[in-house]
């Protein structure tokens, strides 16, 4: 089953009456690609995913303009389970695994909204192959897993719904570099199997490496967009998101300015 285009046009989202979180955002996730969204804290990245998944209501947010379509289907206005049933599934910010449920039960919960339950066992097998640590710990309470393992579980749980488009909200947040790398490889592997990915990341280097196209959100609007190669080369992105400075201003400290690190003698 080929996936279709996820398209967002002129999306405007407000929280309550006073906070405008997105103003006329347009963005596309082409079938079979990884698309990255970068942006500072509070830029509206999570809000974008909430709008797609239909969970703004949990935060008193509303879509006040624009459209969200997947193929020829309208997603805006749908309840979250209806969005999942159409193949668009989110891994929320902060993992949000069900800590009191076991690893197995978390995966089971992830499969409850799948368009069809047939093949659930095979899907589960594939996920456990992708994340062997989940197989080792399948009977444990999910709350006991480490941060990285929890992120794997969160991704695995979403894969149980057999998504055509996977929405990932800062999957490497708070993870050690090695683990972040590992998650990055997994995202590439998932994408290779045909799932389109909308990847939200603060780790711009990782995101631009994985993605074909990327967008930069700033205070609720798209400030920059283009192919990953174009964005990686742009001065602004290099300076603000990749931490590579051409000037001293705003860039990282020069090597000689850095305080010397000394190892604590045991």
């Amino acid at each position: 089953m080929a996936s279709a285009m996820l398209a967002i046009r002129d999306l405007t989202v407000n929280y309550g009456r006073s906070v405008q979180a997105l103003r006329g955002v347009s963005l596309e996730v082409a079938p079979g690609t990884v698309t990255a969204v970068l942006g500072a804290n509070g830029a509206g990245k999570t809000t974008l995913l909430r709008a797609i998944s239909g969970t703004l209501g949990f935060h008193r947010g509303t879509v006040d303009g624009g459209t969200i379509t997947y193929g020829d289907q309208q997603l805006s206005g749908l309840q979250p389970p209806a969005v999942v049933a159409r193949g668009v599934v989110q891994v929320p910010e902060g993992r949000r695994i069900f800590g009191r449920l076991t690893v197995d039960e978390n995966l089971r919960a992830g499969g409850l909204g799948a368009a069809s339950r047939s093949g659930a066992a095979a899907t589960r097998e594939r996920i456990l192959e992708l994340f062997p640590v989940l197989a080792e710990r399948h009977k444990q309470r999910a709350g006991l897993l480490s941060g990285g393992e929890q992120q794997m579980l969160a991704i695995g749980r979403a894969l149980m719904a057999a998504p055509k488009v996977l929405l990932l909200d800062e999957p490497t947040l708070g993870l050690a570099p090695m683990m972040a790398e590992r998650i990055g490889e997994t995202i590439a592997a998932i994408n290779e199997q045909g799932t389109s990915v909308l990847l939200i990341e603060q780790n711009a280097a990782l995101a631009l490496r994985l993605a074909t196209n990327a967008y930069v959100l700033e205070v609720g609007s798209v400030a920059l967009s283009g192919t990953s190669a174009e964005l990686s080369a742009s001065d602004e992105v290099r300076r603000r998101y990749l931490g590579v400075g051409e000037t001293d201003e705003g860039g990282p400290l020069h090597r000689e300015d850095r305080p010397k690190l000394t190892r604590w003698a045991g």
Partner: protein, 296 residues
Amino acid sequence: MTKFIELVVNGLSVGSVYALIALGFVIIFKATEVVNFAHASLLLVGGYITAVFHDDIGFLPALAAGMLTAAVVGMLVEFLVLRRGRTSDHGVLAIVTIGVDILLTTELVRRIGTDVLDLGDPWGSQSVTFAGITIPQTRIAALLVATVLITAFLLAFRYTTWGVAMRAAAEDSETASLMGIKLSRVSLGAWAVAGALAAVAALFLTVFPTPGLDRNTSLVALKAFPAAILGGLDSTTGALVGGLIVGLTESLATGYQDQLHFLGHGLSGVAPYVVMVLILLARPAGLFGTRELTRV
């Protein structure tokens, strides 16, 4: 010693009935975060239907009809009254359930009038005597039926799709909906199960040695509130333990009234509440709960 054992068995039996009520109360709270003050009236609905129909259709079908009606009324309360308020204040919703309770109870009390209704149970007032201990059959039936129902519920809660959806939604409703779990269905299911369990409890609250179902039955059902609260409002284990504690306390306080006379008259009536307050002083979230009552 004989007396003590009889009192304990009695207490466990009554306690298991309280546990049925408290369990329903707790699953509604887990699924919707609403404290359901209309629970006693659901119980009264179930008991009333059983009482009205047992003559014509027989005891078991009448009991099934009572369970079904209480389940449907529970779902209607959820659907018609609470659904719109999903995102609004849970405290307000709890107060709304008080209104529902008053409406339902008033109507039922009007219908029952001053009658004492028989629910048509097959046990009557017979007792079983074993090794010198005499226990009414109804108390044994209550203990067995409650045990079977509670076990079935716990197994379903743990192993079925419904149970997984229910627990996921109780832990994090937004994320559960991101998994495609339909929260409205989870909450309807909770109200239905709670109603059905309450109808069974109605039967066992009104069989021998109680004369039958009357306008005060819903007051008796209120004793399940301290059971749910002392166990922890969001804990199914808590509901079971709480039910048994209240049942035992009540039974022993009644049985040893004379010896406990120095504590004042009518101790058995207030004993469950005294125990509840003592437990809450030590553990504000209840024995097994994670949420303190002040947050409700």
